[in-house]
């Protein structure tokens, strides 16, 4: 009988499915606690995943602060648009966040669709 996958392995499977469903658009992705601790990640070795996770959580924290101070309601996503791509941070309920790095020209609409499904799966795994 196959051993049960650990939580990290299950989260990595979600990230692998995300990359697969979005073709070559995804540079990397991570599931991160709201405290900025990386729970699972699929980035190249050149990326400091611990630091990126802390930055992603801080980005979400700042976005939430903006939304609160301007009475704009809940934050649904934060996007950093750069010359060579997009970095997207999406909260998963109030449990954790999904951070995705997209290549330049990547399909943001598809990411939003896929991220919704990913969020449901991540939420189920985190509990």
């Amino acid at each position: 009988m196959a051993a049960t996958a650990t939580r990290t392995e299950q989260l990595n499977q979600v990230l692998d499915a995300l990359a697969l469903n979005l073709g070559g658009d995804v540079n990397g992705s991570a599931v991160v606690s709201l405290d900025g601790i990386v729970l699972a990640a699929r980035f190249s070795g050149a990326v400091n995943v611990d630091r990126l996770s802390a930055i992603a959580a801080t980005t979400l924290g700042v976005s939430r602060r903006v939304a609160k101070d301007l009475s704009m309601g809940d934050t649904h996503e934060t996007i950093v648009q750069c010359d060579n791509g997009l970095f997207i941070v999406i909260p998963v309920e109030d449990k954790c966040l999904l951070a995705v790095s997209l290549r330049k020209g990547g399909n943001l609409g598809m990411v939003r669709l896929e991220a919704g499904d990913c969020g449901d799966r991540i939420s189920g795994i985190i509990g």
């Binding site: 650990t6 900025g36 601790i37 729970l39 802390a54 801080t58 924290g61 602060r65």
Partner: protein, 150 residues
């Protein structure tokens, strides 16, 4: 030659200033920034923690008590670090994070980060941490659960 060590005031400052730094940054950007700073401090203890094995609870407690406690940087009193099925329990009192604060949720973001970073050094693995009890939140101690991510 100039020095960055303060000749009159020395190495220590009041928790009042620390509190404003922490809570001000947290209020603007959330806890992750502070936890990351704490982790960085924990990682900086690599030399001190060198040679300790992950199952040496008592030795780890003693070493972190020496570095962070009354004879060290006075971040907190380290009472016990105990191995569990999934990682470690950390029991501390007099945390600088909780000093002078009454909160409606645990508030030890920096101290939690320090222990996450330190235990990542000891175990060589990533660690997720959660505050279970906090003096600022009405507890008798600050108590963290650390989970090794596998």
């Amino acid at each position: 030659m100039t020095t960055t060590v303060r000749p009159v005031l020395g190495d220590f400052m009041s928790t009042t200033c620390f509190r404003y730094l922490r809570l001000g940054a947290e209020d603007t950007a959330g806890r992750a920034l502070i936890v990351a700073a704490g982790k960085s401090r924990g990682h900086s203890l690599a030399d001190v923690l060198k040679g300790l094995k992950p199952d040496e609870d008592v030795a780890i407690t003693a070493k972190l008590s020496e570095v962070l406690g009354a004879e060290g940087t006075r971040l907190c009193l380290v009472n016990e670090i105990k191995q569990t099925d999934v990682g470690y329990e950390v029991h501390i009192t007099e945390s600088a994070c909780a000093s002078g604060v009454v909160a409606d949720a645990p508030i030890c973001a920096f101290t939690l980060g320090v222990f996450i970073g330190a235990m990542e050094v000891v175990t060589g693995q990533r660690i997720y941490g959660k505050e279970v009890e906090c003096v600022a939140f009405g507890g008798n101690e600050c108590f963290y659960n650390l989970e090794i991510l596998v």
